[in-house]
Amino acid sequence: MNAVLSVMGIDKKGIIAKVSGFLFEHDINILDINQTIVKNIFTMVMMVDLGGSDLEFSVLADKLNKMGDELGVEIRIQHEDIFKSMHRI
């Protein structure tokens, strides 16, 4: 199952390192990544493959939310279908 992981918030050092390190630890493969900084607002969108992950989706979402709180950014993970259904016929 593929999911979209998004990170938004004030830019600071180590966001990508923290998030990608966490994904690596849980065998989550990054398929695609896009990151921008506009006026100091950091936005990163990743497509990830949860096929090999050892975590339940809801546990994963909780852990990422918590990491977001620690980093002072917002981290969401959502099944890719919500974006596909909304933007593609």
Partner: protein
Amino acid sequence: MINVNTKEITETIKMIRDQHLDIRTITMGISLLDCADENPEKACRKIYDKITKTAEKLVPAGEAIGRRYGIPIINKRVSVTPVSLVAAASRTDDYIPFARTLDRAAKTLGIDFIGGYSALVYKGYTESDKKLIASIPEALSCTDFVCSSVGVATTKAGINMDAVKEMGEIIKKMSEMSKDSDSLGCAKFVVFANPVEDNPFMAGAFHGVGEGSSVINVGVSGPGVVKRALENVRGEDFGAVAETIKNTAFKITRMGQLVAREASKMLDVPYGIVDLSLAPTPAVGDSVAHILEEMGLERCGCHGTTAALALLNDAVKKGGVMASSYVGGLSGAFIPVSEDAGMIHAAASGALTLDKLEAMTCVCSVGLDMIAIPGDTPASTISAIIADEMAIGVINQKTTAVRIIPAAGKKVGDKLEFGGLLGEAPVMPVHHHSAENFINRGGRIPAPIHSLRN
């Protein structure tokens, strides 16, 4: 990015995070026809068991879907076969235990509302309808989650004016019985013309007899998203406005469709419909009135409001219908006064009147909704308000409804505060001339000529 680009992903996230895009409700319709029993206690037991068994996983499934897609699912609800049909077989004059049973089932399931304490009396009453209707005020004041509706008119049958008269009386009674909670009982009761059998929204949801044993219907909500999209076409012509609304409605509905399919799969219950209605909430930035104002009206209720609403309602349908295989329910913009920050403001400032709201209901779903009127309004005047609204539905072959709240002990200028999704309602003036002799005539207003289509 695979198939979807970052801009689109960010757009969706902003809709959810900043513009209140959510799934208003996943409503499971459950047939109770097989719960009828001569013994009322046995019938209630069967009803409780059927509802709690069929909808056992509704709340956890709703939460799991919300989690998976990162989309808030505000309410999980159940609608059932109109209780007057189910209870008809039981040898009892007391229908309150049926209401209490629904309430108990709702509490066990942890759902937000249960609808279907209802009767359909377009043409006449059965004994069971009479008992159920008489019990509605007490049923709604002794339960927490039960919603009730009565269908009193259809285009095919005309208007049952005896029922319309009685509706005015029971609404008054309900208001008095729940006066300690700002006449909240009336907020859980709606009178319909041309009611639909697959409506996921409350207070009017019931599971029609043409439906299967159980079904999943989904209602979306996204006035904030439409308003924000329209900010990008300020000053452009109505073609641009309609196009923008259509595009937005498409996206919103696709999300509803996804959730409906997913819920159907998880619960192993057939997917019924997605209801395209734009349902507002009292939250700032989630208002239908503000969409109309964004189109260029100084305040909702001013001249031009009906045209703006007509455009909105039509464009929402055109965008939505393309996005979903099965569209149904009420599918139109809702204009509940107390549940919409812009409507509350417009009504409180006198810009929005009852007469204008009535005109607006000619071009949108659903009707005079969540409107507070003075507590001393005579029952016959309430019946006359209902009769007007039913006539609009019957003649225009559309659903119309009245959910009106005589604010016990309050007058124009006061307000009712319900809190939560129900919001707050400024008490609005009604016409003072009497319709009593009109309402006292009774009988039926015949079906209109265009009902004869065969």
